[in-house]
Amino acid sequence: MILTLSKTEMEVVRRVLGREPKEAEWKLVDALWSEHCSYKSSKVFLRSLPSTGPNVIMSVEDWQDAGAVDVGDGLALVLKVESHNHPSAIDPFNGAATGVGGILRDIISKGAKPIALLDMIRVGKLDDKGKWLLKNIISGIGFYGNSVGVPVVGGELSFDETYNDNPLVDVACAGIVSKDSIVPSVVREPGLRLVLAGFTGLDGLGGASFASRKLSGMDEIGAVQIADPFAGKIIIDVTLEIAKEVEAIKDLGGGGLAVAVTEMANGLGAVVNLERVPLRFEYLSPEDIIISETQERMLFAVKPEKVESVCAKFREYNYPCEDIGEITAEPKVRFLYNGEPVAELPSDLLLSPPLNVWPAERKPRKREPEREVALGEALRAVLTHPDLVSKEWAYSQFDYEVGTSTVVKPGQGDSAVVELPNGKYLALKGDANQDLCAEDAYECGKAIVAEAYRNLATVGARGIALVDHLQFGDPRKPHVYQDFIDAVRGISEASKFFSIPVVGGKVSFHNEDKNGNPIKPTPLVVMAGLVEGKLARNRVEEGDLVLIGETRNELAGTLFSRIFGGGGEVAKTRLMEDLIASNLVIKGINEGKITWNKDVSKGGLAGALLPILAKGFSVRISSSQVIGTSNLLGKMFSESGGRFLVLTSDPQWFMYQAGRMGIQALAIGKVTKDGSKLVLDYETFPMDSIVENYYSFLEGSL
């Protein structure tokens, strides 16, 4: 029996119970007290995230599976993000696929129809193992999302050696439900029946505790769940059909039945008759039934008189559905097998693990000298980096058109846009920045929120809600824990500044390489917003380039420094500049002044120019017009925030409006249709091979 409980925690359990727990009871406590389910090392700090607002309908109240905000016309948007990092490291196909299945079930457990998925993938170098991981992660996501008919509308794909052994696979999902039909995940009254739909099998045993420790290198394949999207599709369709007839819905995810039942009871008690659980294999032991994490199962709390009609809907599809127990007033969670007690523990004990606040210490920042690199060499290295190439190889494997509502499709803009049933346009974007977070997690926490805000502005949308996912190494290491705290502070501060509520989130610790080094801190946010007036549809044509905002010579924590090393300043996040610049872009879109625009982020100004060059256009830049630094490498590769690159036929309008709003915007050059080349002042850099690489890199490597 592998447990992740510490000695102290085991002592607490023994003391509260006044006896030695049975093996099944240890497993139960292990699952519920796992970092994955209990947030014991993160909860204290997560409480600082601003989770309320006038538009919030349901927030990160304990044990609600996802948060919800008002999007008008009686509709609520449900949003959630989650990772499947450890399973994907071992079995990338099933790990990624079950990540999609799990997030979809979180959305339907609110009674909401899933309308869009995003996937944010981070892998290491593209050697044989890296290729195997990436190919299978992408096809696993496609396999599940395509089969259930939910479009994958956007995402990120980044390559960084910090993820060699521990890839990050984040998936987010948005769903829509009528405001007054949101179903809770917890019950408030005893006497309800517990109804379980779906077979329980042998896969994913102890998955929650597996996800809460570092990868051991031993055979842990038994902790990975197997994906069955066909069953997933049935459970989505039927759950949405019966959502109005049940009192609470909970997805069976980490910790299986143990966690679902205990969290649903929410301080009340429950009795579960394990012999009634429909099994995929005979002879599954009662202990295994409790903690199995087989996918495609849902738990419902149902009024006794409605059990039959609920299960009848599942049986139409030959899908198993059984009444397995009930919610009791006595605050104890009891699992029985043919009447014999298997585990019997107080609800209170299971739901309140001792919280941890670990020692924290900022790692000293080594000041390295700036690197001098020839401009041509730097352009070539940055612009051919896999992080910046076309991701068509990946997104063409996803059915991003199903649902007939994908307005801005993958590869077309900085944010995905989908049409809601009320006709409004919803913009979605996920952002993370491991380079900056490795330098300064606090500035980075702010920066990723600001970047998501800018990304939404590029399509004409303003953020209304965000969810976060905090991915770090072992929290018991002081440098890791400090980064975690700093990142939460940064995210919290920026969300407060933009008045965007954080309606949900997850934490994933213990992401390390095989030598025990933590991954670069990788907090990630997913922001949702509504297009306020006009929607921007990017198209590249001849015109003037305007750079909105100031370019600081801050090259540490950029793609440039990841490639070339070297130091320099770390970017500070000046939220006011992000806000004003975003306001200017949204105004420009609404007044028809923008033909194409992009926020300046990975790869700096050079990176922002690449999509224009890739369309076969040439760009002339006058470097003196890029203001804020005299350093040429800084001008081209700094990733300092608050900036947009805009293609327009009316540059004067931007300069004038920027001045009125309190920022600067300058016409920095022109776009013309005479082959792919970059002319910087008087020097010409041919771009043909870079453009060729842009389109062929992923297809050719994989």
Binding site: S139, G142, N146, S147, V148, G149, D228, P229, F230, A231, K233, I234, Y317, Y395, S396, Q397, F398, D399, Y400, E401, V402, G403, T404, S405, T406, V407, K409, Q412, E419
Partner: protein, 222 residues
């Protein structure tokens, strides 16, 4: 036209098809696979998705299900039968259309907007259609194959073409013989195609604001 849009377990596009059919004034409704009464409808659409999880082979289980008896009956009566993507795979597997749909040559799922040329305008679906239509495909098994190339050419209604309207190898997304994107039966009342007309029926989601899918779906509005 009263049109049944069939939902098998695993079908994903039924609501999209109904939404698009409403654009042309069809009386369309979703009908569960086990409750189709062929006498109540004048036309039937088998939408895309992964019927029965596409276990065994895409479309096989659905093709052998009870529901296909009703659809075959409708086909025999000369009523309109349209299969889109997985629906095309089901029609081929059930023998209502000739040929087979094999895994794409690059062996992976592919979503892409493509151009297709309408090669035959003597079917009820294509009678008044434009010559070239712009629509998305989204499939892993869409490589049309029939060992009798002459017959394939005769039955083929749609052909993948490039921007100049030519059926070039570059325009062929999956390796179909003769760039075939869709075929009909001898009588012309059963049509199957891999591209999704329902996804090309709304200007807001087409890359160029077109709605070419309606060229094919319009017949259900009559």
């Amino acid at each position: 036209m009263r049109t049944a849009v069939i939902k098998f377990p695993g079908t994903t596009c039924e609501l999209d098809v109904v939404k698009a059919l409403k654009q042309v004034g069809a009386e369309a409704e979703v009908v569960k696979f086990n409750s189709l009464d062929p006498d109540r409808y004048d036309g039937v659409v088998i939408p895309g998705g992964f019927s029965f999880g596409d276990y065994l082979r895409a479309g096989t289980i659905a093709a052998n299900s009870e529901a296909m008896k009703g659809i075959r009956e409708m086909a025999d009566q000369g009523k309109l039968v349209l299969g889109i993507c997985n629906g095309f795979q089901i029609l081929v597997e059930s023998g209502l259309l000739k040929g087979a749909l094999l895994p794409n040559l690059n062996l992976r799922f592919i979503t892409k907007w493509v151009r297709i040329r309408v090669r035959r305008k003597d079917t009820p679906f294509t009678k008044d259609s434009k010559d070239v239509l712009f629509m998305p495909i989204a499939h892993a098994e869409g490589r049309y194959y029939l060992d009798d190339e002459e017959l394939a050419s005769r039955l083929s209604v749609f052909q993948y073409v490039d921007e100049r309207g030519m059926p070039s190898p570059q325009a062929n997304p999956n390796g179909s013989i003769l760039n075939i994107a869709g075929v009909t039966n001898e009588a012309g009342n059963v049509l199957g195609l891999m591209p999704h007309p329902e996804r090309a029926s709304f200007p807001s989601i087409s890359p160029d604001g077109s709605r070419d899918g309606l060229e094919i779906l319009r017949v259900f509005g009559k």
